[in-house]
């Protein structure tokens, strides 16, 4: 039995005439690392804002951890953590002071601050004003703040933006660990490598509508064009044929070429998740 943590039914969000989210249906299970993808303006951030109670839906039903959103906003708040795409620290405070404020608000021991700073490799800069932090450090401090109270759900809007290679790996590892501990991770990203590496399931959104939702592996399996390029010599010339292996006729043709022609090269066209994303959204993402 799998428990559903996030349930979205027929969600519509309109801003005047513009429809940001158009009839979205989605369920996310407990402990799942869920990727939410889409080109700019697809409605990802709006959906997250609805989930955290910052945006009132035009219609539809949203339940998070059993609570109706936005009706039970006050009750659901302590259940989740939210890492926005823009950092929102108190610049005049040190990293430690920022975290201590939230530790007091969440009524957790101040020792948790040091623990989380160590986990995010920020302990050395803990007593430096946030104003002096680099973008990457601010991002990590934001993640530290939102995981400090061990939320059941963690929403992240582009968590690894502005992070260096080492910090990116650190955050991804952290997210995996959180998933193993049963925390539901709901993240948006433009990094396809990240999606393939850490997400259990992925939903692709385009113009406010859900295009598809599946595991990254299934996505590639279902959506790649299985094409083989074969080059062979015939009458002294090199001939090139591209064969889509979706039909028996094409597969027999490939077998024929390999058995009866003088093959120069035979190679498959490798598709990855990036190509699937472009195919599904019908446009290049930015």
């Amino acid at each position: 039995m799998t428990q559903t943590t996030i349930e979205i039914q027929d969600l519509v969000v309109r801003f005047g005439r513009f429809t940001a989210v158009d009839g979205l249906n989605l369920t996310v299970r407990e402990g799942e690392l869920f990727g939410f993808l889409g080109p700019n303006g697809a409605g990802k951030t709006t959906t997250i804002k609805v989930l955290i109670g910052c945006q009132r839906p035009t219609s539809g039903r949203v339940r998070v951890a059993g609570y109706e959103i936005p009706a039970e906003f006050e009750r659901v708040k302590s259940v989740f953590g939210y890492v926005p795409d823009t950092e929102n620290h108190i610049e005049e405070f040190t990293g430690r002071e920022n975290l201590e404020l939230y530790a007091r608000l969440y009524e957790i021991p101040l020792a948790a601050v040091t623990d989380v700073l160590r986990k995010l490799e920020l302990l050395d800069a803990a007593d430096v004003l946030v104003r002096a932090y680099s973008k990457g450090m601010r991002r990590k401090l934001l993640i530290a703040r939102e995981i400090m109270h061990t939320p059941r759900i963690l929403y992240l809007d582009e968590p690894t933006a502005n992070l260096d290679v080492h910090s990116t790996a650190l955050v991804r590892q952290l997210l995996r660990e959180l998933g193993e501990q049963g925390v539901t991770v709901f993240l948006t990203t433009h990094d396809m490598e990240e999606v393939e590496q850490i997400c259990d399931r992925v939903a692709i959104l385009s113009r406010g509508k859900l295009v598809d939702c599946d595991t990254p592996t299934n996505f590639v399996t279902r959506h790649v064009q299985r094409v083989v390029d074969a080059q062979f010599e015939r009458d002294g010339e090199v001939v090139r044929e591209s064969l889509q292996l979706d039909t028996d006729e094409q597969r027999e043709r490939l077998a024929h070429i390999i058995r009866h022609e003088r093959c120069v090269t035979v190679h498959s066209q490798e598709f990855n998740f990036h190509d699937v994303f472009l195919k599904l959204t019908g446009q290049a993402y930015t």
Partner: protein, 384 residues
């Protein structure tokens, strides 16, 4: 697409109202505001500067009243025509002027039917009583200010004039009564009379309150909004009511401390005036509500600061225009600062009882309207 999932949605049932306030949470939030103030040296500098100005004003005594106050006129009003009153009509005092008229001729009366005089004028009521064949004329001289000495010019003229009419059948009995208990007619106070130490004190109090409750609060709240720290706070277990209340308590405390400093330096006798503190608290809350609306309806800190400044300038302009054009008086009466200014001035000038402080109820009503507006805008737009 999605595999079949069995929904098990559980949630505790206890009700949480966004209006509920928890004391520990308030303490954390007020501590946050205090820490932010400590990290803003310019705000501390401004508060220090205002206290220094108050000290300078108090020690230099910029405007002092020369000698005891003088009456601008005396109004004798009677219930019955008598020969000695007719005599007084024919031989009036000219400086200051004495007017003699019957009770029915007085048109400007308060809700209880008592005559109302312009500031600086004294009323002399003459009431006749007949008992055992002897007629007694009771003279009740109502004086303004603290001392009946102001009536000397009147008595010096009055007694010689009526002496020849005083017979065993007619007894003239004088009483000096301060104009206590009569509600102050705030709008009748001319600005020219206000340029005194009390005025400087009033202005400094208003500046302190505007700075701490409006400008500083607008600055902090709009900075919170612009940086997204307010959203982060609202998404934490802190409730909207707690966040708003913590801001109010913090800035009100700051305002009260500033006002205590100004009053202690400029007019220490007024420190125990309940009316003064009621007006200070009401004005501070009103200004904080105005500040909350400004911070909520603007996108950036710079825009909010400019709008707060515009509000202050517009208020000053309105106050000035209302002294020139009667049409602006209606708008002025709808501003709680109008009542703040005059009540603060009178409370600083001398003892003022709650009964005398007319306008306090209207001011409370106007402040309540602003609180309602601030709450609605903050809850709806303030943190999103």
């Amino acid at each position: 697409m999605d595999p079949p999932i069995q929904l098990v949605l559980t949630a505790p049932n206890e009700a949480i109202s966004p209006m509920m306030v928890r004391l520990p949470m308030l303490q954390v939030l007020i501590g946050r505001e205090l820490k932010r103030l400590q990290k803003n040296p310019s705000a501390l500098l401004m508060l220090g500067l205002l206290s220094a100005i108050a000290l300078l004003m108090a020690t230099s005594k910029p405007v002092q009243e020369a000698g005891p106050p003088k009456a601008k006129g005396f109004w004798i009003y009677y219930d019955k025509e008598t020969p000695w009153l007719a005599h007084l009509k024919e031989h009036p005092l000219n400086d200051p002027p004495v007017h003699v008229l019957s009770q029915d001729q007085i048109q400007n009366v308060d809700a209880r039917g008592r005559p109302v005089f312009a500031p600086g004028h004294c009323g002399i009521a003459v009431k006749h009583q007949v008992k055992d064949g002897q007629e007694t004329a009771v003279i009740v001289a109502q004086f303004f200010g603290k001392s009946p000495d102001i009536l000397y010019p009147f008595w010096n003229w009055f007694w010689p004039e009526v002496a020849k009419f005083q017979t065993p059948e007619l007894n003239i009995l004088p009483f000096n009564v301060p104009m206590a208990g009569r509600a102050l007619s705030l709008e009748e106070t001319p600005l020219s009379e206000l340029v005194k130490t009390e005025l400087v004190g009033t202005l400094l109090l208003l500046i302190v309150m505007f700075f701490t409750c409006c400008h500083l609060q607008v600055s902090f709240t709009s900075q919170d909004r612009e940086r997204g720290t307010l959203t982060a706070l609202v998404l934490s277990p802190a409730r909207l009511s707690e966040i708003m209340l913590s801001k109010y308590i913090f800035h009100l405390t700051l305002s009260l401390l500033g006002c205590v400093a100004v009053i202690a330096i400029m007019q220490p006798a007024s420190l125990l005036s309940p009316v003064l503190w009621i007006v200070v608290v009401l004005t501070s809350i009103g200004l904080m509500s105005v500040g909350t609306c400004i911070a909520t309806l603007t996108k950036t800190q710079a825009a909010a600061a400019l709008l707060a400044l515009c509000y202050m300038l517009a208020g000053s302009l309105l106050f000035y225009l209302s002294t020139k054009f009667s049409g602006f008086m209606l708008i002025r009466r709808a501003a709680f600062e109008n009542y703040s200014f005059l009540l603060l001035y009178h409370a600083l000038k001398g003892p003022l009882s709650l009964g005398q402080a007319s306008g306090l109820v209207t001011m409370s009503g106007l402040v309540a309207v602003w609180i309602g507006l601030a709450r609605t805008t903050f809850y709806r737009y303030g943190w999103r």
